[in-house]
Amino acid sequence: MYLLLLLVITVPVLTHSVILVPISPTTQAVYNFIDKLPPNSLVVESFDYATSVVPELHPQAIVVTQQLFLRPLKILFVALDPNGPPLADAVLDTVNKGNRTYGVDYANLGWIPNTATEIGMISNIAQFLPLDTHGTSTASLPIIKEFPAVKQAAFVITFDDDSSALYSYLQYWQGTFNISVAVGSTAIQAPGYMPLYNSGQLVGVLISIRAAAEYEALLYHQYNCCLGISGASSAMLALSTAQFLIIAMVVFANVGYFIGRRSAKKVE
């Protein structure tokens, strides 16, 4: 069974075939919200996932960051997870930034070490995060001079693997200053975020690597680019075959269970 699972995942990955997947409403909601942000709005991207969930959340981060760079927006990269800053750097190395300049259009402010910093940033970023990941004073960055406080942000998206970062942003940033929040989540966490999405607390929910593939399709339809930028679209065939195999195994197990039960009744 394990060998079969290994085969159905490996063979499609090696074929590099791309599938354009249908778009789910929660992904479309995030895309539309970012697409409709006024020019020169401040967006905060928070990298709150560990290296173990990179296959699920890193593609989401890449495609969302790419959309942000395709629009005339200002972007701040932060992280509530210590693994966040290098992963943010990896995303910045992957996307096409066009003619955007570091410090003017975007900046990586690094790790937010505690709740006090997270709350303090609402009114004064430079005081609570004095240096960016390059060691430059944040107060000297043009983007911080233009947006000295997080409460001026129009949107926060957190790529979160355990919901702690999302709940802290909802509590401290959205609760008080009504900053719109979206989340990129793993497949396991996603059902738990549906109450927040349905109640309007979340703009949208990106669910696992499939949302990244949907995002690539959306970017391809609008900008004629970015298909395969995160590798998500080429993983969809492998994902499909693996899920079909699991469904087949469950059906097979149930058929065997009922046959066994009927045989046991006949013996009785």
Binding site: S24, T51, V53, G135, S240, Q243, A253, N254
Partner: protein, 229 residues
């Protein structure tokens, strides 16, 4: 729930007073604003900063303890002493390169550490982090796929009415999430969206409220009684 009638020692009483005071202080900060008299939020933020310092010290104690245990392994040449050498080399190599060349570098502007050292260390750190650490952690986590497959095979059986509902709902959601199935019939996605939006949301809301009430009760009990039992 057993009632512990034992008298508190002086140390336990002192600890209980600290727990009680700090717990209620943070509750009061949330509800009371008296900026003209004292900025409670600023005091609260400063205390949180001290807690961060204490947690950092706890990490340092952990590193010191790991080092001590494995150095003893190596000195006494225990059965796994070679793995202890490997662990300590990996631990300190990653720490040193991270302090020189990562986003957490101590001197990214090359004020004290020579720029040549940083330039030499950066590709090594990037290799250790992106090519080794990320891939190893992802691979370990990906083993879950095989466990989920075998668990689904063993657990998802229609033994009763409730388990049949669970089985059917689970299969429909998985089909809705499968990209190829979605392309074959869009109805799978619609069914998935309905299951997530209605039954799932209702259940999750009940769980959230129950968990919140449980945390409230436990926190109140913890504030008022040490040791708890």
């Amino acid at each position: 729930m057993s009632s512990d009638k034992k008298k508190m020692t002086r140390e336990e009483l002192g600890l209980q007073i600290i727990i009680f005071s700090l717990g209620f202080f943070y509750a009061i900060v949330y509800y009371v604003a008296a900026p003209g008299i004292v900025d409670l939020q600023a005091v609260s933020d400063q205390l949180l900063a001290y807690i961060t310092a204490v947690l950092t010290a706890a990490f340092a104690i952990g590193v010191i303890n790991i080092t001590r245990v494995h150095v003893i392994n190596i000195k006494r040449k225990r059965a796994t002493w070679k793995y202890s050498v490997l662990l300590l080399v990996c631990l300190y190599a990653m720490a040193v390169f991270s302090m020189i060349a990562s986003p957490y570098a101590l001197d990214p502007q090359a004020t004290v550490i020579p720029a040549s050292v940083i330039a030499f260390s950066t590709p090594i750190w990037e290799f250790l982090y992106y090519k080794i650490l990320v891939n190893i952690n992802s691979s370990i986590f990906s083993l879950l796929a095989f466990f989920i497959a075998s668990a689904a095979y063993r657990a998802f059986k229609a033994r009763s009415f409730e388990s049949t509902i669970l089985l059917v709902a689970g299969l429909l959601v998985v089909l809705g999430q499968t990209p190829v199935a979605d392309l074959v019939w869009p109805g799978f996605a619609a069914i998935r969206d309905w299951i997530l939006a209605f039954p799932n949301t209702a259940g999750q809301r009940g769980i959230l409220i129950g968990a919140a009430l449980g945390i409230l009760a436990f926190s109140a009990r913890r504030l008022f009684r040490y040791p708890w039992g």
